[in-house]
Symmetry: C2
DNA sequence: CTGAAAGCGCTTACAG
DNA sequence: CTGAAAGCGCTTACAG
């Protein structure tokens, strides 16, 4: 079945394309009678406007692009859900792309999105993104851009984040207040801002509480396999610091669960021998044994807010844009691992 | 910055739009010299073809639509990853939508996708989809359609599935062979095909092994909260059948983990008191305590295959389409819960 | 209340 | 090797 066009409806009804178009869009200067006839036939023929033609005329696609490191990740999946949900409310569709933590893929994705003429772009940066020319390119094309979670500090655009430094600080301060003194940190790669900020929060909490910062207690998890990174880091930690460590602050729940698994496998008691605290409040953290103390990171909310910010910029594209940064609340969830 | 058009390049170079267009697309009937000049300027001006215009001319968008029940689900997230990855290879972009297990949302999503003029559609049906008019609509519009995982048997189109009946049969047969005799089934909603098939496989395995099928051992999990459904079903099961049940075959890992949690909370030993087997091989099933025996369901593969099937149909749209059904292999993963 | 016409930016069959 | 022209399907300023 070939797609129905305005022309076909016009010919069938013996009126002009203009009138059909206006009738369908409920223009006031079309007679009730005509409108009815057009609507009825359009319905009957299952008329669907050709988007490409509409886009070409109106210069917008009602599609946004989203780039995340990966879809297979509880937090990002939740953010995506929030984005799609908020977008749907405004009749926007979402093209989803993944960088797979590869800056080249991220840059290529931006180009593709730009060539598709999306109305706006939402990005959470890959761990290996070190220059931001592609973000500048988006801005040069006058396409609204909002970064979320994995952001670049120096890029001027709207952002939705949590206060990673504060969240990490609170988590570690809680450990200290519970009496833990030798607190290790399983951190992420050196590059991403969230990784830097969580590390800084960790360090600051120690110093503010007169606990010496010991670099040998910091392990870097950057092999793109959080679970295994956590597992291996826990192993190394125990080999070196056996009875000289009493807690771990892990950069993500996945890293924490890797560590937890190692301890479970090796009869090291949590939290008696070593306490663990994670980050994100991934569903799994609540059902693992022992259940994991963690920082709740509102992914769904982040997705919705990110779209809303983007939508505002799309709507007011002509006006001078004022970039906003929204900081979402986090919350420490205390469970049995601490 | 306003977007650069062919016209601007043509004027700057004092040649026709036609020639610019041809040069950019490397037509053989353009001189080397001209090509070079055009390419250089296009590069320099950061020229990006206007997709809407191209689409309108070529009558394709190079975008496909994907509808899944939800993105926050390990299996679907994995399938999505596979789809996006395979699509990227063919220069296709993916619009992602979610039905949230709501048939009305699913139908509306189809309409939106159709109006965007996507070149093809991939769907995994919601649990509450009971009529398939929207699928027929897609076919009536001559848009290629491929169903995956949650399919409708009566719809004539290509499909990518696993053999749910056989996979369930094998899982239950394994339990029987291990010596379990009173095997409960925590099934899904009555409607979805996968739920029906896994139930049938369960029943057949019992009968083939001369074990009486006891309907009171079958619990329906259909509150859209698999974990809790599993937890509550386990509770009821124990209340009623306490020492008269020795194993559970759960329709998904999430349901299995809910049950496992209940048993862990209530000092019921797995697998000594009750064995559990799940379905999907969600990452979590390998790290929970005890680790979960389950059926591996190849999500990434399913996503890639689904796109490939769709792509073939898009490419050969003019020809008579032969619908294919691809059945992917599953594999029983034996761990500590059985 | 209706419609002719221009134009969005591109591609391609055709003429020269 | 180059370019004028038609046309994809729509929207909208303008004339009547």
């Amino acid at each position: 079945m070939k797609n129905v066009t305005l022309k076909q409806i016009a010919e069938a009804l013996n009126i002009s394309i203009t009138t059909v178009s206006k009738a369908l869009k409920d223009y006031p200067d079309v007679s009730k009678d005509t409108k009815q006839k057009v609507l009825a036939l359009a319905e009957n023929l299952n008329y669907i406007p050709n988007s490409s033609a509409v886009n070409l005329r109106t210069q917008q696609t009602k599609i946004i692009g989203v780039i995340v490191p990966t879809t297979v990740h509880h937090f990002f999946a939740t953010v995506i859900k929030g984005i799609i949900k908020a977008a749907k409310k405004k009749n926007y569709l979402v093209i989803l792309m993944q960088s797979e933590e590869d800056d080249m893929q991220e840059k290529k994705s931006v180009d593709l999105l730009l060539s598709k003429g999306v109305d706006g772009i939402l990005i959470s940066l890959s761990n290996n993104t070190r220059d931001f020319n592609h973000l500048e390119k988006i801005k040069n094309h006058d396409i609204p851009l909002v970064l979320f979670d994995k952001i670049s500090k120096i890029t001027k655009c709207s952002k939705v984040v949590i206060n990673d430094q504060k969240a990490a600080y609170d988590a570690v301060a809680y450990l200290i207040q519970k009496g833990y003194k030798r607190i290790a940190h399983f951190r992420g790669d050196l590059n991403p801002q969230v990784s830097i900020d969580r590390f800084l929060g960790y360090k600051k909490a120690l110093l503010d509480n007169n606990i010496e910062f010991d670099p040998s207690l910091v392990y870097i998890c950057n092999n793109n396999d959080d679970f295994n990174d956590g597992y291996e880091s826990a192993k190394k930690l125990i080999e070196i610091h056996k009875s000289n460590v009493d807690a771990i602050f892990a950069i993500t729940d996945m890293v924490a669960i890797g560590a937890l698994k190692y301890f479970n496998d090796n009869n090291i008691k949590i939290p008696d021998d070593v306490a663990i605290i994670g980050f994100s409040n991934w569903f799994m953290s609540s059902v693992i044994t022992p259940s994991l103390t963690t920082v709740d990171q509102p992914g769904f909310e982040m997705g919705k807010k990110a779209f809303k910010l983007l939508y505002e910029e799309i709507k007011h594209k002509d006006k001078k844009i004022v970039h906003k940064t929204i900081e979402l609340e986090t919350r420490l969830i205390i469970r049995n691992s601490t």
